[in-house]
Symmetry: C2
Subunit: 234 residues, 2 copies
């Protein structure tokens, strides 16, 4: 007998976007692990806090945001070994993840290290992509449309090439990349309409058309939805 | 004073993937509208049934699956007019939607007709894409990866062009298109690994590697996740 590692999607920010399954499993877990970033706000913490007794065993790790690949790998190696200690004691370990655990999250880094040795499962969650589309009342895709999701950090040439091939594009984690994206989009003329959604489901939530977003940059936890003006796929 | 139209994502099939918000709103709505297809199973019905009193006012519309564009437009025109009658009586009308209301759903067809006249809001839901990734324990994207979502019905040349530009591709609604997709993927040699997920969260759920899926076709409600073998984006 061993424990089980469970990645639990807690949704994109609004505490009510927790699923019934996430809520049940959070309450069942013997240990709750939080991977906090050096920089980011602990949004997942705010979502789960009302549902857990203060006595629940907790492990919190602070992931390095600015280290190189080997620093990050070492961080996940060490976190996984600590968690393995809990799993080896037959404890069920839940890892609450903002959005969905396997969609640009750090849970995959733990899973790849622990799944070969321990049972592992994942509870999917509502992503920020769906939450932004809902908050903006903007259909993401219909019929024959395709949707591409792109991290803002990608090089301009690659972004341009991929934008050329979708009816809807969602660009994640805008941050300091926004000025670069604006320049890139200028090259597409009037092909796309854009909307920014930032800090979804929190008190700081902001929604605006791209042209109406007056700040030079955007928060790290923000995204841009681009819809091609002709909605009909070729 | 008027009513309000609310699109409510109920998740991809597992009744526990309902969010707390969807549950609260389903219970608050004075009228529940169901858009059932001629063909499909009423999965959304099965998810919401345990949470609603039998006395709740219900309207059910059967969408034509095989009519042409004008038949479908007329169907949504007529459904929207019936719903407008409810909204005009100051009733809140909830439309439960499998997955997410604005991600390849029919809710957008009602919203475009009713949002100009009535308040309208959307509760996002967990999509089948996230549920498949979780059930397969297959990370959809990390770091610099991009993800493209493509309907299986697209022409082969377009699918091929778009597959060339992503680390992860998710192909929706496989159905009778699977043989065509297999031929197309043969052209990519060993570039991609593939997994099929079908009827997620229901008693008929099936998960299999593409090579291990022995049927010629796949259910309509199935999807294929393709991951490029080299996971590093350019």
């Amino acid at each position: 007998m061993t424990g089980e590692l469970v990645g639990i999607g807690v949704g994109p920010g609004d505490p009510e976007l927790l699923t019934l399954k996430a809520l049940r499993l959070l309450r069942e877990m013997e240990v709750i692990v939080t991977i906090a970033s050096d920089a980011g706000e602990p949004v997942a913490e705010r979502i789960i806090a009302p549902h857990l007794p203060a006595s629940r065993r907790r492990l919190t790790f602070r992931a390095p945001m600015h280290g190189d690949a080997s620093t990050r790998a070492r961080f996940y190696d060490e976190a996984a070994e600590t968690i393995a200690g809990e799993l080896g004691r037959e404890r069920r370990v839940g890892v609450p993840c903002l959005g969905d655990p396997l969609f640009y999250g750090s849970f995959a880094r733990l899973m790849e290290r622990l799944a070969p040795r321990f049972p592992c499962s994942v509870v999917p969650g509502v992503t920020a992509v769906q939450a932004a589309s809902a908050a903006l009342r903007l259909p993401l895709a219909a019929g024959r449309d395709s949707v591409i999701v792109l991290p803002a950090m990608l090089p301009e040439a690659l972004l341009a090439e991929r934008l050329a091939h979708a009816e809807t594009a969602v660009i994640l984690k805008l941050g300091r990349h926004l000025p670069r994206l604006r320049r890139l989009l200028a090259g597409f003329g009037r092909d796309f309409e854009g909307w920014i959604a930032s800090a979804l489901g929190t008190a700081e939530e902001r929604l605006a058309p791209l042209q109406g977003w007056e700040d030079r940059e955007a928060p790290y936890m923000s995204l841009l939805i681009l819809r091609r003006r002709s909605t009909t796929a070729p």
